[in-house]
Amino acid sequence: MIHECDAAIIGAGIAGLTAALAASETCNVAVISKVYASRSHSGAAQGGIAAALGNEEEDHWEWHMFDTVKGSDYLADQDIAEILAREAPPRVIELEHLGVPFSRDSEGKIEQRLFGGHTRNFGEAPVRRACYASDRTGRVIMDTLYDHCLVRGVKIFNEVFVTSLLTSEGLCCGVSGYELATGEPMIFHAKAVLLATGGCGRIFKTTSMSFAATGDGFALAFDAGVPLEDMEFVQFHPTGIYGLGILVSEAARAEGGVLRNGKGERFMERYAPLLKDLAPRDIISRAILTEIAEGRGIGGSDYVYLDLTHLSKEQLQLKLSEVTSFVRTYLGIDASESPIPVAPTCHYMMGGIPTDAQARVLGDGKSAVLPGLYAAGECACVSVHGANRLGTNSLVDLVVFGRRAGLDIADYVSKNPSVPLPADVELKISSRVDALLAADGKEHVATIREEMEKVMTRLCSVFRDKNGLEQALNKVHELQGKMANLGLSHREKRFNYELEESVELNNMLKLSEVIVHSALQREESRGAHYRNDFPERNDEAWLKHTLVFHVATGLETLYKPVVVTRFEPKPRVY
């Protein structure tokens, strides 16, 4: 079936819905989601959304900008970090005006709390900048945007899996995919397409991300010839529930929780004397794994404790109710009485599809806009998080750049004619589905996926080196080879999740290759990318963004300079 619309938005998380609301004022929008819209992973965001409102104490957008740049290990483009910090307060107020139920302070204003890496006066001490709603901030923002989309009649297509970007005459003209319920082709003929598909944490064995986070948007752009930027920078959140990877929000430490090793020591004092347990995530994840490697995990094992036992029951109930219920459900632990076993978990991709400040995709990664194609949120790299994202900067990224995308799309759509779809789009997608279904090789999706998760976790997560990355690259190539010999266990088109998972796995293997390749090239340590064999940051050689292109011979790497405006790179200590 062919659906006509002005703009097709892929992904119904906070970036997609924000863009939909902004664009739907003047144009006909279709939001397309491979899950039911309200299942999108923005809903799992817990801790807060950063904005220098100054409700609780003095704060300024310049301080927020500085923290973002320093947190990024100076890889963020500073013109973009400035946009983020300046626009955060009006966007948060807009969310409140839409009805987002933020938690309140004693004056009735939006309450703000501490969060990792956010400081007053350019690094002096932690500052209360995170606006929040208990520990379900993402859920309430997404639900509010969703309700507004419903009442405004934004068309939402649930459970449609987009597998190709369509281009014609050098312009983006829509997407194609299939409906999960029927396996039948779905074509969206649009003047503009926004990729807002989130991350790809499922590449790794332990992740806080949902099963849907398989990097489809990155792969759609990459397949269309767009490079991927800074993919070596993968964030591992320090406090995933041990064994499961379920997120225990940084808010737990913002409210006073501390990390302790097997000797009961508050070890972050040694790694970040000023901010301690509120240091940025890359630093804490490395600290935890260093403690474990040196035999100071709990009982010599491979986890540490997050201790909330000194917080009051009321504080846990009011400010951390989701987190305490996760711990109760999955570990049988009362967080007010026992410490929580935690270890780093894959949480966020700093890299992604290169865009400009209007969320327009840069086809060459540098300056050439690919007309009609946009990306926002985790799948985009604008680049505002550089080599390491600060907690609460993701939600603000979604609303700042989601809105910019929506407004620019509305403008673009009003000024440009529709271009015809390429020939035979429906036939192409249905024969692709048929070909995938017909696969009768010996390899299984689940087995290859498990091997990918294992190798990426072992050799390409928090600590990396040349030898390991080369092994990982070989293994990924081997797994890609196995994909050619894939077999599905049944051929039914309707709700064939094995079919969907085979496309997702193909995407994830492509992205694994790009991540490992980018990490192998970057011979320095910066933010979340740490090389044991190159442990120092090297600004002279590496203060630049990686761009990886897919070319006939394999992967090709180019670099582009980082935009530095206000803050010259300095050693990053906390």
Partner: protein
């Protein structure tokens, strides 16, 4: 240990009637039931259909009926069930089965939509660059509501939705209305209350409390439904007004 799963199977386009398949998987006592289902799909029967996404009780995808009780498969652990007894997986009730454990949720989401008035979600005026002021107490009036993840377990468990009044808007939709009715920042909520006052609205609840019992987020759903009714009486039928409907 080994876990035996007895799973409802049905493809309405192919099968005349549903049947059950039994699978045995190896699992730890702390594994989620969703992990067990995944083992079945990934290792034994790729055709098994069920929804899932976040796997930790936040997205609301994997609502189903487990041993007769509506629940999220990702929130239940193997150790929550009697060892050596098979665990029965069936789709949510109330909703039409599309395939195996996948049900058609369109009616559920349409009912969620139906609680919004014609003018949408309208708040009182606020200064352009300032938030509405709301006290901690005012905010706490609807704190329970915003935990809802729209998993539909409450509707599936409700005897009214199941049998007595299939057109009943259902506990989740009333909870969504409650979230706005009790938010001090909203403009008047007369129309929303009128929607709740209609046939198949808040008065259809028979206070079975099943919604409250099964809610994966431990929301006091029935209590909030009763609060909506109280509000209808207070706002739409004030004492001595003589009017029965409109204010």
């Amino acid at each position: 240990m080994y876990v035996k799963l007895k799973i409802f199977r049905f493809d309405p386009l192919i099968d005349k009637e549903p049947h059950y398949d039994t699978f045995v998987v190896e699992a730890d006592s702390t594994d989620r039931l969703l992990d067990c289902l995944n083992k079945v799909r990934w290792e034994q029967d790729g055709s098994l259909a069920y929804r899932m996404s976040c796997a930790h009780g936040i997205c609301g995808s994997d609502g189903m009926t487990i041993n007769g009780v509506s629940a999220l498969a990702c929130q239940k652990l193997v150790r929550d069930y009697e060892a050596d007894k098979e665990i029965l997986f069936e789709p949510l009730s109330v909703f039409p089965v599309v395939k195996d454990l996948v049900v058609d949720m369109d009616d559920f989401f349409a009912k969620e939509r139906s609680v919004h008035p014609s003018d949408g979600i309208v708040l009182t005026e606020a200064e352009e660059d300032k938030e509405h002021l709301q006290t901690i107490e005012q905010r706490s009036r609807f704190d329970d509501d915003i935990k809802c993840i729209m998993c539909a377990c409450c509707v599936s468990a409700c005897p009214v939705s199941q049998k007595e009044d299939p057109e009943y808007v259902g506990p989740a939709a009333i909870l969504r209305a409650h979230r706005y009715i009790f938010d001090s920042r909203m403009k008047d909520q007369f129309e929303r209350l009128q929607i709740m006052d209609k046939p198949h609205g808040a008065w259809s609840c028979k206070t079975y409390y099943r919604c409250t019992l099964v809610c994966p987020k431990a929301i006091q759903v029935t209590k909030h439904i009763l609060e909506v009714r109280r509000k209808i009486l207070d706002e739409l039928r004030p004492k001595n007004s003589g009017s029965t409907q409109h204010v």
